[in-house]
Amino acid sequence: MTAKALSQRDLATVIGLEVHVQLETDTKIFCGCSTDAAEDEEPNTRTCPVCLGLPGALPVLNEGAVEAAVKVGKALNATVAEHTRFHRKNYYYPDLPKNFQITQYDAPICAEGTLEVSVEGERRDIGIERAHLEEDPGSLQHKGGSIDTADYTLVNYNRAGTPLMEIVTKPDFRSPQETRAFLAKLEEVLEYLGIFDATRDGSLRIDANISMVPAENVGDDGAISDETLAEANRTEVKNISSHKGAEKALAYEVTRQKNAISRGRAVEQETRHWDESRGITVSMRSKEEEKDYRYFREADLPPLEVADWKEKIAIPELPDARRERFREEYGLDAESASKLTSTKEVADFYEDVAEQFDPDLAATWVADNLLGELNYRDMQITDVSHRLDEFTRLVELVAEGSITTKNAEEVVLRGMLDDGDAPDDIVDREGLGAADDDEVVTAVAEAIEENPDAVEDYHAGEGGAVNFLVGQVMQKTGGSADPGDVNQMLREKLDE
């Protein structure tokens, strides 16, 4: 093919991802150091001879990391290897304590999986080529500039040895939007598995390979031959750290590559760095020659038999399945089911509430009221999951008619979140107990007596008049009456 012959619309986008995910384990992958990264942690304190790569120190495999990897394999419908086996990847870099990384090479723990994504209602399976375990390097802090202009660079080994899983997809993405959907879905699945914490800095790092191929070489099902792929020059985009970032960086690359080709220039085969703040990718180094990592077996780690782990290790119900079940079991609409399964914690919370009350009422309260108020306060469900009892009490108060929906939402729920008070205390303090009938009857009579003009308007057929009277009654009852009931009582009284 000649680059010149193709205009922008004759080009199709091909993307494959390498996703590095930090696994949430108690200790590092090859030593007993904690993986808990405190915000204000002193550099180089969460280290030991092993993760510092001191002479003579030896790695010992943390089986918890292997367990997490097996869970990922199950969730991605992948083949799980019968035993683990590690290799050394040799290269020099200042964040790498031993100047080699212990990783997996010819026998990854997981291979050949899929993850379904949906973009604008269209569902597609993205193939997972492999997913393997490795150790995270330390982190570099460039002082006085960026990576190429800094005066000096500091190394922090606290992160060194954090278990990483590298998930490599097939070149199955046909748009940046799909990569974003995939990454969001992957995060969701990993969170459901309880092995991933998206709030941790550096928990998700993405490299993307992207190239343009002639659209005519793409089959109806999106299939592209190896030959077509081999002919296209691709760039590897590094330094992407979120699903939004992936979409932006790759959208930029699509435009850049298409522009180049439509102007008759070839796309350089190279590594590019995503500069988030400037919203562009910049060339890092030309990738003319493949790096030679001189892989060979890590003799310090004997293979670990995990043939029966796939059977033994259970994984929780995954988001897609749970969404489907919520729709069937609780009769929820698609939107509520989706909201209520957005994280495992929300879904668990909902099911606890739905068990005790009408699932619809529970859905309204969890999906709309609670999540809405939490979102407004920049809080997470995990911030309140220990207050499940209080929350169910609030729904109970509404369900039994002890307080009005309006008060429950506007006073009690907000008070619970803002002041941390228990619902009954707020109800007592604010005098929100639902007005009893006598009180409302009295208030209705008073409102009619005190507002002859409105009564006259009502009889003259002005619809607004009754609303004014409802407002008067609500005021008298301190908002504790049910506006619908009041409306009905007023009409009955006025029509007598």
Binding site: P55, L58, F100, R294, D300
Partner: protein, 432 residues
């Protein structure tokens, strides 16, 4: 005149009592000692003071032994004469004009010279047995996985073990009793994965007690392939010792292991490949020589390594890097692994015919100082009899077989995997 046995002389007292109470032990300078510098015989680590003890050092201390110092060695274990040390060569106490062997030359010399009752060496391709033979003492290379390597600064990690040195088989065996055993910090000492073994082999073993000199009925297989290239004086001494074992009731048979002709090549490819990776960390950033130079980190690494490593270490790193490189990996590294598998298989077959196998430990008598250093290939060939044992992960012992021209000759006995007790029993009969 000083024999230059120690890199650092420092006394570290052990616990008040224990099986080695009252004994002094010299420790090879590639075994980490908390608070005592551990140089590996290299300028690169001249100032490196480990913040932790190797497992074997912890066990030494707990056994009541007193550590008397860190012994000289070939740089990072790369050599068989202790002449590649950045701290100068050690002299052989038997004949000061000769090398003590290596790489654990300081450890063997310490025992031979009476500077310590016992010593720890390390053996990657013969580095305990070679100096034991040249200095006329006993040295044991345990089965891979019998002794923890945690804290042993790696040269070639799939091949090496820490091994004891003593003046008698029983002494060395008693030290093996102390240092052997599973260690949760060295995954290669853990046998919970293995179907054939429910406990670590050191459990329930008494190596010192095995040194009872009783070889009656034991079959000793002489590996004829390893006699062919050896010095006549060595072969003569060796054969006399074997005859003596026969006289004590042992059956002596000849065995041949065809694969052994590839052992030296396979050993050096594997050892150098692993070394190129194991020594990559010495870049001057956190420890190791810091040249104080500025500029691109890659250049600083190169300067540091250029200055910090000696010629033999550089040679092995370069050859190992080459052997692992794309395009050469299959030709060298993979082929060497195939040879290793073949050698293991040949040993398995040989142990169907014999309880222990015997060879001269070294095919030559101890060279003069400076004699062999200029010819690396000559040096590598000196390892022909010892490296097969490391490739096959087997245990072996070198025990004095007698003298030739007033110089010690060592007899090597090789045992089956974790067959240390049988091997020690046979070796103690050589002393009779």
């Amino acid at each position: 005149m000083s024999l230059n046995i120690f890199v650092t002389e420092e006394t570290v007292a052990g616990d008040d009592d224990g099986p080695l109470a009252g004994k002094t032990v010299a420790v090879k300078d590639n075994i980490s000692t908390e608070g005592v510098r551990t140089t590996c015989g290299s300028a690169m680590l001249e100032e490196y003071v480990p913040p932790y003890d190797a497992t074997v050092v912890e066990r030494l201390k707990a056994s009541g032994a007193t550590i008397v110092g860190k012994t000289n060695m070939d740089e990072f274990g790369m050599g068989g004469t202790t002449e590649t040390s950045a701290f100068g060569p050690t002299k052989n106490p038997v004949d000061e004009s000769r090398v003590p062997g290596g790489s654990s030359g300081g450890s063997a010399a310490a025992v031979a010279a009476g500077e310590a009752d016992l010593a720890l060496g390390t053996d990657t391709g013969g580095s305990v047995r070679n100096p034991a033979a040249f200095c006329g003492v006993v040295g044991i290379k345990p089965t891979y996985g019998l002794v923890s390597r945690y804290g042993l600064v790696a040269y070639a990690n799939s091949l090496e073990q820490v091994g004891p040195i003593g003046s008698t088989v029983e002494d060395a065996a008693a030290l093996l009793d102390v240092i052997s055993g599973a260690d949760e910090r060295d995954a290669t000492t853990r046998f919970d994965q293995s179907a054939e073994m429910d406990a670590h082999p050191a459990e329930g073993s008494d190596y010192a007690a095995a040194a009872d000199g009783d070889v009656d009925g034991l079959t000793v297989g002489v590996i004829t392939d390893l006699l062919e290239g050896a010095d006549d004086r060595v072969v003569e001494t060796f054969e006399a010792a074997v005859s003596d074992l026969r006289a004590q009731g042992a059956d002596v048979v000849d065995v041949s292991l065809e694969s052994l002709e590839h052992a030296v090549q396979a050993y050096y490819v594997i050892a150098m490949s692993e070394a190129s990776s194991n020594l990559a960390r010495y870049d001057g950033v956190r420890y190791g020589l810091s040249t104080g130079k500025e500029g691109n980190w890659n250049d600083v690494y190169a300067d540091t390594r250029e200055e910090g490593f000696g010629a033999e270490v550089k040679r092995r790193i370069l050859l190992g890097t080459y052997a692992l490189s794309a395009g050469y990996h299959d030709k060298y590294y993979k082929k060497a692994q195939d040879a290793r598998a073949w050698i293991k298989q040949d040993f398995d077959e040989a142990f169907a015919e014999a309880d222990v196998l015997a060879t001269p430990t070294m095919p030559v008598l101890p060279p003069e100082l400076g004699e062999s250093l200029s010819d690396p290939l000559q040096l590598y060939l000196m390892d022909a009899n010892t490296v097969p044992v490391n490739l096959a992960n087997l245990p072996a012992i070198s025990v004095p077989a007698g003298e030739a021209d007033g110089l010690p000759v060592g007899l090597q006995l090789i045992g089956p995997k974790f067959g240390e007790e049988t091997m020690i029993r046979a070796a103690s009969a050589v002393e009779n």
